[in-house]
């Protein structure tokens, strides 16, 4: 036992009851409402109009801003409407409403993309519609578009340390060969020398399978401890590649390219079949859902359809909180009448009792937040400095090292919203000049 520093991170393994459940496709909904993302002033403009026939994989929206990934139809059917509907963050955005005809025909015009060198790979990556994790729907081509020759390591983030989520684990078990092929494609097209696939040690079956698919020396598997969190960019650079990023630096500054394992898989599948990203796999969990399971749903499926596919809300309970993403970093949804987009891995349903995390009381200086922070920060100091708007102190506290994992808020006995206050401090205009993260 180290008397000077306690182990950081928190152990939350017991919440994985869907482990072992293979990903099940949901029954085809009657309609899909495909959201069109926007990035500030740029948004994806619809390329179809009401009445058009579309098939699976048809390009239905694109943007002049190449950061945004194009949107493809996830079903075959007829475009019923293009209208503003509520989006996950409480605002509204354009959605393309498609009435499915049940036939699920594939788009015929899809060509098999070529990925022989850097330029063709980047073009294919954008055309695939695959996005980085997160609701902003930034195309994967952005993170692959680094200055040529400046990367020597590819890290595949196969970690899934958040409680409840297991869909990525199941996906790896089902598609390990394609993941390995994806690594090889990226390495050869982008000129990267080695790949490290990082996952936690409680996924030994997936690690074994990946090892058997990757016989070459340039691809290695890194087993990380299974405490939370380990899938953050800074954490991976530190633990899988041994490189500590200074505050405000991104992985490419250390020669590392990061890609999520689902994104890599979908990109490889696009290169092999020509079908762009049109479905999303995720875990439906929470104490209020009748059947917790891993499912795959077409983009644009409405949430009530997903909930009823999983047996609906348990009898005697009512939905108190609906979370898109994991329970520790996910965003709460303002209502149930929303459609799913890209870039998330969980839908968590809590009943009313679980939704209240407790009343905030005084900080007792217990220091648990400091001992638990994986980045070695002092969350209560940062929160206190933010409350009193002491920007001089904030600048010395390295707040841009914070990865938003939520360990501090989780462990705080006074129920202080520490990670939220740190996020507010990071987003404030006075701190923005300080760092980029």
């Amino acid at each position: 036992m180290d008397l000077f520093k306690t182990e950081s991170g928190i152990k939350l393994n017991k919440y994985k009851r869907t482990v072992g459940m293979a990903v099940v496709p949901v029954s085809l909904p009657e309609r899909v409402y495909i959201p069109l993302p926007s990035d500030g002033e740029y948004s994806c403009r619809p390329l179809v109009t009401q009445g058009d026939q579309v098939k699976m994989g048809t390009l239905i929206a694109d943007s002049d801003n190449i950061r945004l990934a194009p949107v493809h139809s996830s079903v075959s059917g007829r475009v019923e409407a293009i209208e503003n509907r509520p989006a996950a963050d409480g605002s509204e955005c354009l959605h393309i409403v498609i009435r499915t005809d049940g036939r699920q025909d594939h788009e015929e015009g899809l060509e098999l993309p070529k990925a022989e060198d850097r330029d063709s790979l980047l073009k294919a990556a954008r055309a695939s519609g695959v996005t980085e994790d997160g609701e902003e729907c930034i195309s994967i081509a952005e993170s692959l578009n680094f200055p040529e020759g400046s990367a020597d390591t590819l890290i595949v983030n196969a970690c899934e340390t958040e409680p409840y989520l297991t869909s990525e684990h199941m996906t790896i078990l089902a598609h390990a060969g394609e993941i390995a092929a994806g690594c090889r494609t990226l390495m050869s097209c982008l000129g990267i020398g080695k790949t490290i696939i990082a996952l936690e040690e409680n996924k030994k079956d997936a690690a074994q399978l990946l090892k058997s698919c990757t016989s070459e020396d340039s691809i290695s598997i890194a087993l990380l401890p299974s405490s939370y969190p380990h899938g953050t960019a800074r954490g991976l650079c530190r633990e899988a590649a041994g490189k500590e990023l200074p505050q405000g630096a991104s992985p490419i500054d250390a020669g590392i390219v990061l890609i999520g394992v689902s994104a890599l898989l979908k990109l490889q599948q696009y290169l092999e079949t020509g079908m762009p990203l049109i479905t999303r796999s995720f875990t439906v969990e929470g104490n209020a859902i009748t059947k917790a399971m891993n499912i795959e749903a077409p983009i644009g499926t409405e949430i009530p359809e997903i909930l009823s596919f999983c047996g609906g809300i348990k009898k005697g309970m009512s939905l108190g909180k609906l979370i898109l993403g994991g329970p520790l970093t996910g965003k709460t949804l303002p209502g149930v009448d929303l459609a799913i987009g890209k870039g998330f891995s969980g839908l968590i349903c809590f009943d009313e009792k679980y939704s209240i995390t407790g009343r905030e009381t005084a900080c007792i200086n217990c220091g648990r937040c400091i001992s638990v922070c994986p980045e070695g920060l002092m969350p209560m100091r940062i929160a206190k400095a933010w409350e009193h708007k002491r920007f001089g102190i904030l600048k010395e506290l390295d707040i841009f090292r914070c990865t938003g994992c939520g360990c501090c808020s989780y462990i705080c006995p006074a129920r202080k919203p520490l990670s939220f206050e740190i996020a507010q401090a990071k987003a404030s205009p006075e701190m923005k000049e300080g760092g980029v993260q």
Binding site: L3, F4, E244, L328, T357, L397, R415
Partner: protein
């Protein structure tokens, strides 16, 4: 607009650990109970009445002062209960209740609430109040009731008059015959009602360590320093550890989060300081007991210790960091 109930919107994370401030305080109360049991068996109902009165005074004063200051009521976090218990544990079981009330007022209103309440006190409230009572009512505070289970040898050696009896540390200060370690462990001695059974307090301390309410740094460094200094001074280390307030101090008072350092290294420095000053006062100063003063002094030094040690374990912890 549908009439369904609205969903809760809140920032991440959406799960919290089960431990909260009240449950931490509940564990401390549980850890203090063995000693209360022993005291009641030895000193009779007055020990229980004094403890319950201190709890009642503390909770009431906290409720009143929070209302007077226009702040929310905080008696639900149970910290006032602990302050009351620890103050009672530092008193002779026969202390008049009105003096105990003065002590509770000092602890809750002056040391704690006036400075901002839980988390803002500059020193441990109960410990500081004990010192105030010691200096204000020294006769009553040194009037130790007889322990009915005290061994005959001690009673005759101390020249007891059958009503009051000296504490082990008073005997040590006067170079008289000392009670054995077993007497100290099992509560066969006189003293403050919460310091007489080292074993009962040790059991409580182990419970707190097991529940991860406290870390081992402060108890080990406090008790360890007392032992080392005793050996260096040529006196019995077990006696010094088990007699007086070292057990209560090392596991319950010095470990108070607000008034002890946050970092592991800071806690060790703090514990060493507590042990050091305890022994210096016990051996060289006129007060037989050094623990309260040592803890008060180290409480005041805590912000400085934090400032000196946090640089090494805080944000600059990782290699390649900016500092």
């Amino acid at each position: 607009m549908n009439t369904e109930k609205k969903l809760t919107i809140s920032p991440a994370p959406h799960l919290v650990a089960r431990t909260d401030t009240a449950s931490i305080h509940k564990d401390v109360i549980i850890a203090l109970l063995p000693q209360l049991l022993v005291s009641t068996m030895i000193f009779g109902w007055m020990a229980l009445v004094l403890t319950l009165s201190c709890i009642a005074f503390s909770v009431t004063f906290e409720w009143i002062i929070r209302r007077v200051l226009g702040r929310s009521s905080t008696i639900g976090d149970l910290s006032a209960v602990i302050t009351g218990m620890i103050l009672a544990y530092s008193l002779p079981a026969s202390l008049p209740l009105w003096m105990a009330a003065v002590g509770c007022f000092t602890a809750i209103v002056i040391v704690k609430q006036v400075f901002g309440g839980l988390g803002q006190n500059f020193a441990n409230p109960a410990n500081t109040a004990r010192i105030v009572l010691l200096l204000s009512f020294s006769a009553a505070m040194n009037n130790w009731p007889v322990n009915s289970r005290m061994s005959q040898a001690i009673q005759s050696a101390a020249g007891l008059d059958g009503v009051t009896g000296p504490t082990p540390l008073m005997l040590f200060a006067e170079n008289k015959n000392l009670p054995g370690t077993l007497d100290l462990l099992l509560g066969r001695v006189s003293g403050p009602l919460g310091e007489i059974s080292a074993l009962a307090l040790l059991l409580g301390g182990i419970y707190l360590l097991h529940k991860k309410v406290i870390g081992p740094q402060i108890p080990l460094s406090f008790i360890g320093t007392v032992a080392v200094m005793s050996l260096l001074m040529g006196i019995d280390p077990l006696f010094q550890i088990c007699a007086g307030g070292v057990m209560l101090g090392a596991f319950f008072i010095a470990c108070d989060y607000t008034t002890s350092p946050i970092t592991g290294l800071g806690k060790i420095i703090y514990g060493i300081g507590c042990g050091f000053f305890t022994m210096i006062i016990r051996v060289y100063a006129i007060y037989p007991e050094g623990v309260p003063f040592a803890i008060l002094l180290m409480n005041i030094l805590t912000p400085l210790i934090d400032r000196l040690t946090l640089k090494k374990t805080g944000a600059a912890n990782r290699k390649g960091g900016e500092n």
